[in-house]
């Protein structure tokens, strides 16, 4: 085990320095397991782990150690806590990664900056997980083009639809209001709620017209009727 560590450390001088200067911490971080959070996702626990200095080791584990997808995903979150800009080698490996890791790479990169290559790859990615993370990134990053939103509104995945509706609202994409109104026909009252709320923020008068036309104040969904009644009281 030590021989293997030494071999890797020699191939990467940053790793070598960490192993030489901090052997106990190196050994601990190399073997540390992530723990399940409240929804069962694995995450590394410990504020002492958060330091850009240790990224070379985490990166080595990510690329070389043969860890499971869940552990590699935990390593991505850990590296992101150390430095919001993931190492370029991670982005270069995007296309070869599993859907879970592709979605996580998008989640951790595009809300912070416009990486054209990653944006284009994720826009063409058919995975619903990736689409969802791309749309959430578009919601909060004004530098990202909004073009993927319209296609996403055809999705049958409720989380993708919700993210698309959020993107229309947060990016104030008023040209997509007709698409938003179309979502009021969705059979899921959850999507109706999200679409009506987004519409109320972009065009309150139109939202009130839709409430009256569709009688949303009488919806069996308490949250839809609550929103609708609030709009009618204006």
């Amino acid at each position: 085990m030590l021989h293997l560590l030494l071999s890797m450390a020699l191939a990467n001088p940053d790793l070598h320095n960490l192993e030489t200067d901090y052997p106990e911490q190196y050994e601990r971080r190399w073997n540390l397991s992530p723990y399940p959070n409240r929804i069962g996702q694995l995450h590394f626990v410990g504020s002492d782990l958060i330091s850009p200095d240790w990224i070379p080791l985490y990166l080595e584990r990510y690329h070389q150690k043969g860890e499971s997808t869940d552990v590699r995903r935990a390593l991505l979150y850990l590296m992101h806590r150390c430095d919001p800009n993931l190492h370029p080698s991670i982005l270069r490996s995007y296309e070869s990664e599993s859907v879970e890791l592709r979605a996580t790479i998008v989640e951790l990169t595009l809300p912070n900056r416009f990486d054209a290559s990653l944006f284009n790859l994720s826009s063409r990615d058919s995975s619903e997980s990736v689409q969802r993370e791309l749309l959430l990134a578009i919601s909060s990053n004004p530098d990202l083009p909004i073009k993927p939103i319209r296609n996403a509104l055809q999705s049958k995945d409720v989380d993708v639809l919700q993210a698309a509706i959020r993107a229309i609202h947060w990016r104030e994409a008023v040209e997509l209001i007709p698409d938003l109104i179309e979502q009021l026909n969705h059979p899921s009252t959850f999507i109706q709620l999200k679409a009506l709320y987004a519409l109320s923020k972009l065009d309150r008068a139109e939202a009130k017209r839709q409430v009256k036309r569709r009688r949303f104040d009488q919806s069996t969904d308490h949250h839809v009727s609550h929103l609708a009644k609030g709009l009618m009281q204006d």
Binding site: N37, Q41, V45, H80, T104, W170, H223, L227
Partner: protein, 407 residues
């Protein structure tokens, strides 16, 4: 002639049966009478019931959670039990694995752990550590679990009056997340107990999706019904932030969330939009439901400043940004009118070694009923950043206080 003392063991809770007693003489029935017998219901514990014991998981290895465990040990002494975290696959979420309830008669009392179908690292703890002559364990349901089957999502209010109906043991409440609900067998069973007539709340704004993330109840003898409900409110949250100088430093938030001061939180327009939506679509409608279904008035409701964020790995759904103070562990005293409360430390300050000067704690302690003694618990790394808080990482056994057969 002697009184006949007949004890009957039932295999069902809150079940009625007819017992026919006959006196026979030479094979002839000379007297017969029918008696309706009812087995005790299973009653989920609420926060006005005195606590007997509190518990959490503990790990004293490198980077362990002793800063979480120590306040409980220091305050509660032998009324606190910890279990070795490393024996249970590092699953800290003790609240989620089982919910304590009581079943009792005029002559017997039994504690009961409703064991969830969640079955993660803590799956065997109830059988290994809790099952005893004084504590029964049972599970309802065998479907593939969702997050709503965790028991941070199963709670009971204190006794309430709703119109003409009095609920002497409070009402159970749990959350649904889109179509994901508490498993049907358990919902049906809880409905059948009748006394705590459950209420289902829509909590689809949350990533984890448990009712303990945004609401709790605290004993307060000055309140109309002897308690206050504490619920998160993001308008109060933003008012709180805006009352502070923009350069108010938040080193721990800077390290974890990159919000190094109050101004960076306030200037995040996406965060504000998320919170506005949560308040309008979920918190206000749920407050309305608490008023109609639990008979609560504004006087009984304390709105707590809170800001939510969309954490990594949560697909845009929310969890507390400031540690969720309503997600506290309540150790109620024997009077049922006061309690020690173990509350997530908000770390809303620069000096992380002391709670002195924490602007959030100052505001929150003004809102806390005088009957509550707060103990601030460092749950940041093991719990808060892992989408849970103090209540999620603990559990409490309580004593029953009312006699169901009198109602």
């Amino acid at each position: 002639e002697e009184d006949l003392n007949l004890q009957i063991e039932s295999t069902s809770f809150n079940a009625q049966a007819t017992l026919t007693l006959r006196i026979e003489e030479n094979g002839t029935v000379i007297r017969s009478t029918d008696i309706i017998v009812q087995s005790a219901p299973l009653l989920v514990a609420h926060h006005l019931q005195p606590a007997e014991r509190m518990m959490s998981m503990s790990y004293d290895g490198q980077g362990g959670n002793q800063s979480f465990v120590k306040p409980f040990e220091n305050v509660l002494g032998d009324r606190f039990t910890s279990y070795r975290l490393e024996d249970y696959n590092f699953d800290v979420w003790l609240q989620d694995e089982f919910e304590f309830a009581n079943t009792f008669t005029p002559t017997t009392q039994n504690q009961f752990a409703i064991d969830s179908i969640r079955d993660r690292g803590l799956a065997y703890l109830s059988e290994e550590e809790l099952l005893s002559p004084d504590m029964s364990v049972g599970t309802w349901g065998n479907t593939y679990p969702n997050s709503q089957d965790s028991f941070g999502n199963l709670e009971a209010s204190p006794p309430v009056q709703v119109g003409d109906t009095h609920y002497p043991f409070g009402r159970i409440y749990y959350g649904k997340w889109r179509e994901d609900r508490l498993t049907k067998k358990l919902r049906t069973f809880l409905d059948e107990q009748e006394y705590q007539s459950p209420v289902e709340l829509d909590i689809t704004f949350l990533c984890v999706g448990h009712v303990d993330e945004f609401v709790t109840f605290l004993p307060d003898p000055t309140a109309p019904q002897g308690f206050r409900m504490m619920i998160t409110d993001v308008n109060e949250g933003y008012d709180f932030l805006e009352s502070l100088p923009g350069n108010y430093l938040l080193p721990l938030y800077g390290q974890t969330y990159r919000y190094g001061d109050v101004e960076t939180i306030l200037s995040d327009t996406s965060l504000r939009r998320l919170n506005e939506e949560i308040q309008e679509l979920y918190i206000e409608p749920n407050i309305e439901r608490f008023k109609t279904e639990f008979g609560l008035t504004d006087e009984e409701i304390i709105r707590i400043p809170m800001i939510f964020e969309a954490p990594r790995g949560c697909s845009g759904y929310a969890a507390a940004l400031i540690p969720g103070v309503v997600n506290m562990a309540v150790f109620t005293h024997d009077s049922g009118e006061s309690a020690d409360a173990f509350i997530p430390d908000p770390f809303f300050r620069s000096n992380l070694g002391s709670t002195e000067g924490d602007a959030y704690i100052a505001v929150f302690e003004e809102l806390l009923p005088a009957s509550i003694t707060p103990h601030w618990v460092d749950d940041w790394e093991w719990y808060h950043t892992q989408l849970g808080e103090v209540h999620c990482g603990s559990n409490t056994i309580r004593k029953p206080i009312e006699n169901w057969w009198e109602f």
